[in-house]
Symmetry: C2
Subunit: 230 residues, 2 copies
């Protein structure tokens, strides 16, 4: 056992809560679970759990997500720590909030969720326990701001996607209509997509070309400090 220098200080419970954003056709969604323990058992809640001694917060967030959904090793970003004294009526708990982006139909988990977990359209989500509503709102704001500097959302789409799908995604995140031509021009300027020879024939008679995210190009541009504003 390591020497304990700060014996007299108060210790607290530290939790992580995950806002998992998903994209499904035209809708931005969030993954929620029905809480199966007290207090507030049976109410909708974010996916969360407690930090353990042998892990850091990023690891805790991934572990919690994996345990509750089967989703593994995805990119998660810490964004704020909530510490109001009575935020959790069960016991004094400080919670570090993370958000993540995934494709709702990812084969990673075959779109199958554990019992009690469910995707909700962002604007039709139920009331959540504690300060979780606040967390979701702040996560949305972060996500919006992030679109202004990073090519967000390739995690939210399948590997191959159409321009229209990408535009729908940006429109859901930013909650506004975008001009089709301007959007395509800007995305092409970023020069981080490969246009494939395949077409998606499900959306129209003409069919629309599929694109794939080119991670190599993206990383090169990232190094150069490129700005990915859409």
């Amino acid at each position: 056992m390591k020497l304990q220098y700060y014996q007299k200080e108060d210790q607290v419970l530290l939790a992580v809560d995950c806002i998992i954003f998903g994209f499904d056709k035209k809708d931005l969604k969030v993954l929620l679970v029905k809480r199966d323990f007290e207090p507030e058992k049976g109410k909708w809640s974010l996916i969360g759990g407690f930090l353990k001694r042998n892990e850091n917060l990023d690891e805790a967030a991934n572990r919690v997500l994996n345990t509750l959904t089967g989703i593994k090793d995805i990119y998660m970003e810490q964004f704020y720590t909530y510490s109001e004294i009575d935020r959790d009526p069960g016991q004094r708990t400080i919670s570090v909030a993370y958000f993540a982006l995934i494709d709702v139909h990812s084969h990673q988990f075959d779109g199958i969720l554990i019992d009690g977990a469910q995707w909700f359209k962002l604007n039709k989500r139920p009331q959540l326990i504690f300060d979780h509503n606040q967390m979701v709102q702040k996560a949305i704001n972060r996500l919006r701001r992030k679109t202004q500097t990073k090519p967000i959302g390739f995690e939210l789409l399948p590997e191959k996607f159409t321009m229209r799908q990408l535009q729908n995604l940006y429109e859901s995140i930013l909650d506004c209509k975008l001009d089709k031509r301007n959007f395509i021009n800007k995305v092409n300027q970023l020069d981080i997509l490969d246009k494939l020879d395949e077409k998606d024939m499900t959306s129209s008679r003409k069919g629309s070309f599929l694109y794939r995210f080119n991670e190599k190009k993206y990383k090169e541009k990232l190094e150069e400090g490129f700005n990915f504003k859409i």
Copy 2:
């Protein structure tokens, strides 16, 4: 004593660390203290302390700052939580980092600091303990990004200030030269300053007009979602 619902979970020490930015004539500075307890006693460190049971993190940050410097009730912003397992060799500690902006010559504390505390020019700061260097770097990045959306820095200046001082401040934060005329034009467009009838005569023979931040105008524009990019 409240019911404890989560008895079996690990508890941890939660600290706050404060990056206090100050502005002094032409230099952006950061306030550091010589650590007077083990481990790493005698080395330079951020101002920090542990969260207590009866306070939230914002309160803890202000209490810690007040205890170590006498500075009271200033605006502090939480920006990241550090949780690497061995970040503090003394004991497993998670630390929530805050940054704040103040005028180095504020009468609030008469510019007098407690023993062991000292202002350092940002680019001449000493090596810090633990992950504190990392924290300072992230805080600087936040501060820079913040200039693009909020009229930062009125906290960093005295109540009355000249355009030149404001420009110096932005130049130190962004670490670049700005064009005098463009800067003044942009600031005037924001329309959140009152030009006073007074002049500051210390900087030149002609003297330069003093300005004051108009908080009312600022808040009105803030409500409307105005963007304060400089």
